[in-house]
Symmetry: C2
Subunit: 310 residues, 2 copies
Amino acid sequence: MSKELVFGHQNPDTDAIVAAKAFSYLQNKLGFETEAVALGEPNSETNYVLNHFDEPAPRVIKTASNEVDSVMLVDHNEAQQSVSDLGDVTVTHVIDHHRISNFETAQPLWYTARPVGCTSTILTQLFVQNKIEIPANLAGLMLSAIISDTLLLKSPTTTDEDREALRALAQIADIDVNSYGLEMLKAGTDLASKSDKDLVDGDAKSFNLGGKSVRIGQVNTVDLADVFSRQSGLEETMKAENAANKYDLFLLLATNILDSNSELLVVGEPKDVVERAFGGKLSDQNRLNLPGVVSRKKQVVPPLTDAFGV
Amino acid sequence: MSKELVFGHQNPDTDAIVAAKAFSYLQNKLGFETEAVALGEPNSETNYVLNHFDEPAPRVIKTASNEVDSVMLVDHNEAQQSVSDLGDVTVTHVIDHHRISNFETAQPLWYTARPVGCTSTILTQLFVQNKIEIPANLAGLMLSAIISDTLLLKSPTTTDEDREALRALAQIADIDVNSYGLEMLKAGTDLASKSDKDLVDGDAKSFNLGGKSVRIGQVNTVDLADVFSRQSGLEETMKAENAANKYDLFLLLATNILDSNSELLVVGEPKDVVERAFGGKLSDQNRLNLPGVVSRKKQVVPPLTDAFGV
C-alpha cells in the first residue's frame, strides 16, 4: 500500500485543516500510510487554534497526482471544491458532513457521511469505534473545529452528536469550551487586518446550481457594520472574481456570531432566483437581511438549490 | 418523523432484498419508522433463502413518492438502478458497497459505503456498533446474502470483513455455511425453468459509461454450456432490450460458480471498447472468454469504465 494524501476543501476552514490531521492520525494508527496536507493556508481563526495547541499547519499542495495515486477527502466531496487534479487520482476514503454532489468513482470506496455539524464529530465517533485514544492536543484541535462549524453549538446544523463529541473532547483536552470558544471565534473576526479579497473569497465555495456557477463566501463578525462599511470595495472584488473565474453569481454571507443573524451581499445574476430562494427583495444596495441565518450548508444552499430548480 | 421506505436496486438479488429487511429492522430499533420494500420480485435463489428461513418477501413498489417523502437506499446508489421517481423523494440514508456515481442530494445525509463484498457485511458491523442483537432468522438471511455476493467467499470482492461477518452470522443462525451455501447457490442456477428474458435481464444493471447506456447482466450456472446452448434466443432478447430501452450495449456475463470462470456475450456497440477493456478479441459468435472473472463490480465495470475513458 503506497502513501496517500488526506486533505479538506479549498479555502480551508478550521474543520478542513483539523479533520485532515485527525483522519490522517487515525488512518496511520489503522495501518495506512498517510500525510495530512491542505489546499490553502490556514485562516486567522485556524492559526489561533494551531498556535494554542502548538500544532504545525499542514503542508499546502496545489496538485496531488504528482505525489500519489490515491487520496482521502475530508469535509468535502464536490470536485470543484477539491484539488485541481482530482480526476487523476483515486479517492479511497471520504469522511464528510455535506450533501453529495459532483462526486463519482470507478471503484467501490470507504465513504462515511453523517448529517451532523462538523466532520470532527464523526471523527470523534470513529476513534471510539476503533478504540484509538485521541491525544490531548488533537482533541483540542477537534473541539475547535466543532466550535467553529457550529458557532459554539448555536448553528441550526448542531446535533446532539456534536454536543456529545464536544463534551468528550473538552474532557480529554481539559478546556473550558465557552471561554476558549469565544476567544477563538473572535480571533477569526479580526476583519481590519484582512484585504477585501480575503473577506470575499477566504472561505468561499463553488456550487453548480441549475447550470449556473455560483460562488458563496461567508465572513464572521461581531458587528455587521464592520463588513458593510467596506461594501464598495467588496463589490468590486466580487465583480472581478466573477469575471476572472466565470462565476455567474457571487453571494457573500456576513454573519454576526454574537446574535446569529446574517446579511447577504449579492453580485451577478440571476438575482431574482436569490430573492425567490429567501422570499425577500434585495435592497437598493443589493443586500438582503437574513435573520437567524448562520449556516451556508443548511440555510443558504438548500433554498438556493430549490429555487434554481435543480 | 414520518415513515420511510427502505429498498435495494432494481432486479433485486439476495443482498438487495436482505439488506433492505436488515437495515429496516435496525433503523426501527434505532427509533425510525421504516418499511422494507423491493423494486422487483425475488429471484429463485432469494426465494430459496426466504423459504429456508421462513421469512416473507418484501412488498414490491413501482414508485415511492406516492407513499413517502423520504427513502433509504441499500446496496445501490446510482439513480438509474433505483426507483423510477427517486428525484421526487429525499434520500436520507444510503448503505452500500458499490462505486458512487449519478448520485446527488440537496441536503447532508447519512451515507456508509465500504469496499467489501456485501452490504450485509456492513450491516453486521452496524448491528455490533449499535449493540443491537441480530435475530437468528435475520442472521440466516444476512449470511445468505454474503454467500450470494461473494460466491461462497471465492469472488475477488471478498474481504476479511466478509469472512468475519459470515462466521459471526453462521454462529447466530447455527448454519453449516458450506453445505447450505452450495445448495443455495445451486437453487439460483436452475436455468431450464427460466425464460431467455429472465436470464438476460433478471440480474441486469444499467451504467452510463462515456455517454453510452450500457446494460450488464450476469447469470450464474454450474455449466456454461447450459447458457450458450440457448445463445440465439438470448441474443434476440438482448437486441430487443437494446431497442426497447435505448441501450447502446448489452453485456451478459455467464459465470460458472464451481470453477470461477466466465464467458461474456456481447450485443450492440461499441464492441471495440469491450475488446480493449478486456484485452481480447470477440469470437465469431460475439463471445469472450474471461478466465477467473466472477465479479461484475470488481472485474467488469472498472475495466469498461477505463476503456470508455470516463
